[in-house]
């Protein structure tokens, strides 16, 4: 599948934003964060900015952007539509929470609960868009949505650790601990997803796609056209498979190893500003690792359509 930059940016940035929103909502419910204006502004401001940036990037994927408003209408059947509805609805409690927190000096728990729920539901919808597609076997597995959820939570935790920094007086480095827990969890789920995708037997073959299997081995002899087309560009992308193993290592190092060690050191760093520097590096590494992971998510995925263009199994 073609890794479109608009979609990679969307799920990475919005994913981190929703993760942060979820963690902040949780923090309010647990009473960890004092409802002072500054943490509210930093935390919710960053979360909403990331969410909005990702959503705007995703519009770049639409060829007829002026009709984007229509996309919220089919929530009864379409996960993409549900994602749009959930994303828009989440802005309400998240925005109100930000207003109360920054200007009112208090964070009402019902708003925090609604915002955290909205964030989780939106990310579930994102994962389900991919998970619900039978023609792409690597996406059509039950761990796809958990991967999206866990990576969003891990990125959000790292960002929360960064933003807590020296500005928020916490009794314990709660966000650092959360990041240290959720990072390995997320990448363990991702590792499982990679392994099960690698080991899965093909969903379909060139023999079942053409129905010619009873005649013997089937191979493409004459493609239907001499140059490329939309299908081959959009769904026949296979540049990454050659470097898949190396790119997975890069994603694991940048997304897991580097931020985990940096946050571990930052949690006990002597100077708060040194800790902020380390956590900022950790956040940058997490987002870059997630971006590599998202790129591979698309680039490694094979569509059954490619069986009509010479692939033997998908």
């Amino acid at each position: 599948m073609q890794p479109a930059p608009s979609l990679l940016l969307f799920s990475t940035l919005s994913g981190a934003g929703y993760g942060l929103l979820f963690v902040l909502g949780l923090a309010v419910l647990l009473g960890i964060v004092p409802p002072a204006p500054l943490p509210g502004l930093l935390g919710l401001g960053t979360a909403l900015a990331l969410i909005t940036a990702g959503l705007v990037a995703s519009l770049g994927h639409l060829r007829r952007k002026e009709r984007a408003w229509r996309a919220v209408s089919q929530w009864r059947s379409s996960w993409l539509s549900r994602e749009g509805v959930a994303a828009l609805l989440t802005f309400l409690p998240a925005g109100l929470l930000a207003l109360f927190w920054v200007f009112g000096g208090r964070a009402p728990w019902p708003l925090a609960l609604l915002a955290a729920t909205g964030a989780a539901v939106t990310v579930v919808c994102t994962g389900m868009i991919y998970q619900s597609l039978p023609p792409i076997p690597r996406w059509h597995q039950p761990t796809t949505t958990p991967v999206y959820l866990c990576l969003a939570l891990a990125s959000g935790s790292v960002l929360a650790a960064l933003l807590a920094g020296p500005w928020v007086e916490l009794a314990i480095p709660a966000f650092h601990l959360l990041a240290l827990l959720t990072l390995p969890l997320a990448w363990a789920v991702k590792w499982w997803w990679w392994r099960s995708g690698d080991l899965a037997s093909p969903s379909a073959t060139i023999g079942t796609a053409t129905g010619l299997a009873p005649l013997g081995k089937v191979r493409l002899l004459e493609p239907p056209h001499t140059s490329s087309n939309y299908l081959m560009k959009e769904m026949g992308f296979r540049v990454a498979r050659k470097h898949a193993a190396r790119l997975r290592q890069i994603a694991l190092v940048l997304g897991l190893a580097v931020p985990w060690l940096l946050i571990l050191v930052a949690a006990w760093a002597p100077s708060p500003w040194f800790a902020v520097l380390l956590t900022a590096l950790a956040a940058a590494a997490t987002l870059t690792g997630t971006l590599v992971e998202r790129w591979l998510f698309f680039a490694e995925a094979k569509h059954t359509m490619s069986l009509y263009y010479g692939e033997q199994a998908a």
Partner: protein, 243 residues
């Protein structure tokens, strides 16, 4: 709108494609483009239309496969267009209601005025039957020539999809697959018509008829040629000289 019809449609219009008789002449491909670039919805773009390596939107394409090997190997021409599935995920994934399946006859269509060009329906189609038009920015697909089969100003004999009407080998058949007595249903029953990638559960309406068994004698080598002239004479002498 993008919910699938609650009940199976009373009619299931579709194609039956005979892989035995298709000669791969591409006439159906060309006539499809010709009819549909001026018919339902936006024209079908080609870019660059007159340059090297043109890439365009086509609703019907003929692939060429080789099946089997050695003396049993054969070339199979394989026309492919939208299969108008019963369980059409391309319809349910659509966020805008542009994709829909008609309750009366099961034809899957795109309302191009509502399409936002997100491409998700093309991802959801296992057969690669939907193509996003590079110029109109909306999804294009086979309409079963709804603007022909329902055109009361056309003579009755012409109210069938352009590809079916043009096929010189009669490899394409159009009809109601919900009616067990229709011509297409009988063909499917007699010839063992099958679904493409049935394991994915899309339940396509279009059926394919398998190539008939080969006529080359189970891969046995050809018998030796008969004696040219067993009675001698000039031909016998020539046979001896040439042997």
């Amino acid at each position: 709108m993008t919910m699938l019809p609650a009940a199976p449609s009373p009619r299931r219009l579709g194609l039956v494609i005979d892989l035995d008789t298709c000669v791969g002449c591409q006439a159906c491909v060309v006539v499809c483009k010709e009819w549909n670039t001026g018919g339902y919805g936006a024209p079908l773009a080609d870019e660059p239309a007159y340059g090297a390596g043109p890439s365009g939107t086509w609703l019907n394409r003929v692939h060429g496969f080789e099946a089997g090997s050695g003396a049993d190997g054969r070339m199979v021409h394989f026309p492919k267009s939208c299969l108008h599935c019963e369980n059409a995920h391309c319809v349910t994934v659509c966020p805008t209601g542009a994709s829909f399946k008609r309750a009366a006859d099961g034809i899957v269509l795109v309302d191009e005025d509502k399409c936002i060009g997100c491409g998700l329906c093309a991802w959801a189609c296992p057969y690669g039957a939907r193509e996003l038009d590079s110029q109109a920015g909306v999804m294009k697909k086979c309409t079963l020539c709804v603007d022909r089969i329902e055109a009361t100003d056309l003579p009755e004999s012409e109210r069938e999809p352009a590809c079916v009407r043009t096929c010189p080998a009669t490899a394409r058949h159009f009809g109601d697959l919900a009616d067990p007595d229709s011509k297409v249903s009988r063909l499917v029953a007699e010839r063992g018509g099958f679904d493409l990638m049935a394991e994915l559960g899309y339940r396509p309406t279009n059926k394919y008829l398998p190539p008939r068994p080969g006529r080359r004698g189970d891969g046995q080598p050809e018998a030796a040629l008969e004696d040219a002239s067993p009675n001698g004479g000039f031909l016998g002498w020539l046979d001896k000289v040439l042997s």
